[in-house]
Symmetry: C2
Subunit: 322 residues, 2 copies
């Protein structure tokens, strides 16, 4: 029986034999990053992502863009916690050592590393199928990390930017079709939401980055917070390029289930709305209020007439369909 990826993690690695409490570890498994206490005033956040050729990115993709994307998607986990990047490590498995590929890949990493003042501090290489494992480290004033578990009934639900652009790009890439530049950029060079995450400290009650799709990632907030949600499908932020390229009847499904957006999905009490508007407006970060936290444990999808809609979309999972 194929297992859902998240179920897999929970069942075998979420045990008290492995994830037991120790001094210095504030938060272990279960959020975008683990939290370690460093000194009195600051906490260290660590987050790891594994990217596999053919699973997380297309075979034979441009190594410069791949390097940028590999680090950006990891930094996105720090953004979702409201943290500042500190440094990263790299585990790189390669079928062979191609100097041109390595040169371009390391340049891509360096672009993002320098833009975020987040240097490489160590790692390991091995011969094997192309796979990239990056761990980022970030810092935050003690107790200010934006957790998945803080959403409460009555909170508004927001997303930054637009949804579905990267999923649309990937769809065209895999079909061998041409891809509009705007969508391709969204896939290979997602905007870093680090500054937005920092601006949301003290305002957002919960946050996550949309890596596996809104359906899955908002679901993680609901699970961790023990609440449900109402989402208004007519308020989903869709880009003009997305609306041009994707057939109307496929738009909602793709925007809701497609991964790789790396926008922030966050919740906040209604009385924070003005301050959120100011904080994100100052950074010129677009955002939309798409729904509300309600009691329950699932997502109600509503159309413009407030009628409930049944989606056929399912959360993306690496293990579900094998």
């Amino acid at each position: 029986v194929a297992l859902d990826e998240f179920e897999l993690i929970r069942r075998y690695f979420g045990t008290s034999e492995l994830g037991f409490p120790v001094d210095g570890v504030v938060k272990g498994i279960g959020d975008d990053a683990a939290i370690l206490a460093i000194g009195v005033d600051e906490q260290l956040l660590i987050s790891m992502d594994l990217l596999q050729e053919g699973v997380h990115f297309p075979a034979a993709c441009d190594p410069l863009l791949l390097g940028r994307r590999a680090l950006l998607v990891n930094i996105s986990d720090l953004a979702a916690m409201g943290a500042s990047p500190l440094c990263f490590t790299l585990g790189l498995s390669l079928p062979h050592a191609d100097p041109d590929w390595l040169q371009a890949f390391s340049e891509g990493l360096a672009d993002v590393a320098m833009a975020h003042a987040c240097p490489l501090v160590g790692g390991d290489t091995s011969r094997g199928p192309l796979a990239i494992s990056i761990q980022v480290h970030g810092t935050i004033p003690s107790g200010e990390a934006l957790m998945r578990s803080g959403a409460t009934v009555g909170d508004d639900i927001y997303v930054t930017g637009t949804l579905g652009d990267a999923a649309a790009a990937l769809k065209f890439i895999l079909a061998g079709e041409s891809v509009p530049d705007v969508l391709l950029n969204a896939y290979y060079e997602p905007e870093s939401r680090i500054r937005a995450g920092i601006a949301l400290r003290g305002l957002a009650s919960a946050a996550i980055d949309v890596s596996d799709g809104l359906l899955a990632d908002l679901g993680h907030i609901l699970d961790a917070s023990g609440v449900g949600a109402r989402v208004h499908l007519d308020r989903l932020p869709l880009s003009p390029a997305f609306c041009d390229a994707v057939a109307v009847h496929q738009q909602v499904e793709l925007a809701v289930s497609g991964g790789d957006d790396y926008e922030l999905c966050f919740t906040a009490p209604p009385d924070c709305a003005d301050r959120i508007h100011d904080a994100l407006g100052r950074l010129d970060v677009g955002f939309c209020r798409i729904g509300e936290i309600v009691s329950g444990n699932s997502i109600l999808w509503l159309d413009a007439q407030q009628q409930q809609v049944r989606l056929t979309a399912r959360a993306y999972s690496h293990f579900r369909n094998d």
Copy 2:
């Protein structure tokens, strides 16, 4: 042209565009672990290892033993710095989700995690060829980390335990031959040298764990310290099981070039000899003085008559022979 693994790392990832200095990062690439400043009194050490089926461990190996070994070899990097384990993260790529395999593998991890009070705090899973990427985090009082770069001319060179046992086991495993239990244990369950590393704080001038073989790893100390070494081959510590199982004419080559020992190789001034004897003796950790640091940049191998010996052994490298 096939590149040496270490040359590969240096050439593409040792650039100032990637490994630039930032506040909070005391030591980046180039030692067993990176060092981050945490608060005033303590430093955080992080180290990542990538283990690939067929490269770092045999295909179809026992998942319980694999889990233990995967974490132990990472903790060995902390031992080589004199650090105390804090926590670890896991990146796991799997061809399919086999519950029995996962159960046994996570039990193996948990055995070592609990023995070292070093919990799992996060990670990622993916479908793909079996590969394990583990990052360990440890702490040390500020400035006390044992670096590769501290060896000076006149220092003695030591190794803990015995050399070559794991390499002999791997040789028999790969040849499909039966393996004496003592050697098999050395391969799958290397002794943790954490307590030895902590005991050597303030005594050892440089240290490394022997993961790629004495030839390669002592070489890293010499490179980082800008010195050479004389090693007395008749003083290499060989176990009775190793001497029984390996033909006499192959023993030195295997002990010197074979990886996976995870013993500590360290240097110390001669006037520390008594205190080292006391510190390691209290822990019941065997050790041998095998040579001296000299000026130069290479290793002179000497026989019992102090005559120079030419070894045909070469440092193990994942990339050299492909």
